[in-house]
Symmetry: C2
Subunit: 246 residues, 2 copies
DNA sequence: CGCCCCATTGAGACGGCTCAACTTGCGTGG
DNA sequence: CCACGCAAGTTGAGCCGTCTCAATGGGGCG
């Protein structure tokens, strides 16, 4: 590869300076791209300093400038309505792309905050829109990313609208399991990056109900729970609970 | 304009053969476009025969081919999960664009059905992707449309997760009112295009609760209800109910 | 050690669901 | 023309899952 200098401010061993070297590229760039094209893309991507837990990447009302790919750590997005009610809208893990909430009005509608020390790749959107005209498939790729987000949101609407507390928790756990698996991490033993409060807010439940549901699933030997450490002991039963309507 | 022959199979007086003549273009094409560019776009758009109530435009699993702009009538989209549970994910009114659920995997994930006799403009997506490279702003426009969909879905997640029955109904009514207003129709007197069942399914409520909630709002003189005919009598109070958390 | 935050667990209240009866409107056929 | 069936909507009574309120436990950190 052409680019050589190693990123200085990175504290995670696997972070590389180029998309080409990044082991997450199969997740956030799953398209066949010419080496020359990757270089073009690489040039516009800014690898910023790590974000600390609780630090915001951007807030509702901020001017929309960029999309972001999570490189390490984990991130949540949330809305705040007129009355101050908050709604966690998504959790983002390494290899996932966020920031689409700003495209429609050039103003972000979401708030984005790190759940732990995290790092992101910033992709200035105007530059990206120029590149999509030059790099074959890149436009389609971003349409796909947004389409995927829409499908995920629709699944979430189904979860919130039709499932009970157990089904919601099971759905969340299986989703996280699958996403961890895509990164070749354990699908059965996972550490939740978010608090019970975040889980409850996301799933439309109180923290008490979240806690009780974890306890019940533990008692029923479907999972084991130790704080944020979860082990999925019976994936099939969890799947069944997840699909259990009402 | 260049195009001249009048569409034969149209039974709605205001339907025109060209985007240029269409009075909905400020909704589905709110960008400054050269007359020549509109012609290019116009050439790829297919104006199909009307869809009857209950007829599907496409179904989950169908190959993704096109986006659709609603020209007249109204349309609902819904998911069916593994267990056969259905979730209405959106209602689409004239001037609104749907079909993004197929982009990610080239396979549609939603089912789309007409709530009444409706007509749509079909926009073959591959052609569209070619045109975006030629017509300035068109790519950004479709990014915006998808971004808007994502924001709408996030608001829906908040509604499903945080609002009680009254709040959900109020949110739906105000949303419809606003969208009718954009088409210069009455914001206060509206005819619901969907059944109580559809409303309940969409909002995560049973039809009984929907019915009771309408009755209560009627009794409290916030709205008047006569079957599907709704009159919003106290918009401010409705707004207040809508923002009433829990 | 003591404080604070997060999580867990229990008891009671309440909103929406379930089940059921009834009404209304509409199309069909006797 | 009315009788009938059917689908959609309304209303009531009782139940159940989740929320609310409250007390307790435990881990990190000054």
């Amino acid at each position: 590869m052409a680019t050589t200098t190693l990123q200085s401010s990175c504290n995670h061993g696997f972070i590389k300076t180029s998309c080409f070297d990044c082991n997450l590229k199969t997740l956030c760039l799953p398209i066949a791209m010419d080496v020359r094209d990757i270089e073009k893309l690489d040039k516009i991507i800014q690898r910023t300093r790590p974000i600390q837990a609780g630090e915001h990447l951007y807030r509702s009302g901020d001017h929309f400038k960029s999309l972001y790919a999570v490189r390490s750590g984990s991130i949540k997005t949330y809305l705040i309505d007129d009355e101050g009610v908050e709604q966690v809208t998504a959790f983002y893990l390494p290899g996932e792309v966020l920031g689409f909430d700003g495209i429609a009005n050039s103003i972000h509608s979401c708030n984005v905050v790190a759940l732990e020390t995290s790092s992101v790749c910033e992709m200035p959107f105007e530059r990206l829109e120029e590149l999509t005209l030059v790099i074959p498939g890149l436009q389609h790729h971003f349409f796909q990313l947004m389409g995927k987000q829409i499908e995920t949101d629709h699944q979430m609407m189904l979860t919130l609208s039709k499932k009970n507390a157990e089904g919601r928790i099971a759905t969340l756990l299986l989703g996280l399991s699958r996403r961890y698996g895509r990164r070749n991490l354990s699908r059965t033993a996972l550490r939740l990056p978010m608090s019970r409060m975040d889980i409850g807010n996301f799933l439309g439940l109180t923290i008490e109900t979240v806690s009780r549901t974890f306890s019940r699933l533990h008692k029923d030997a479907v999972i084991s729970v130790d704080g944020r450490e979860i082990v999925i002991k019976d994936p099939e039963k969890l799947e069944h609970i997840c699909h259990d309507h009402a």
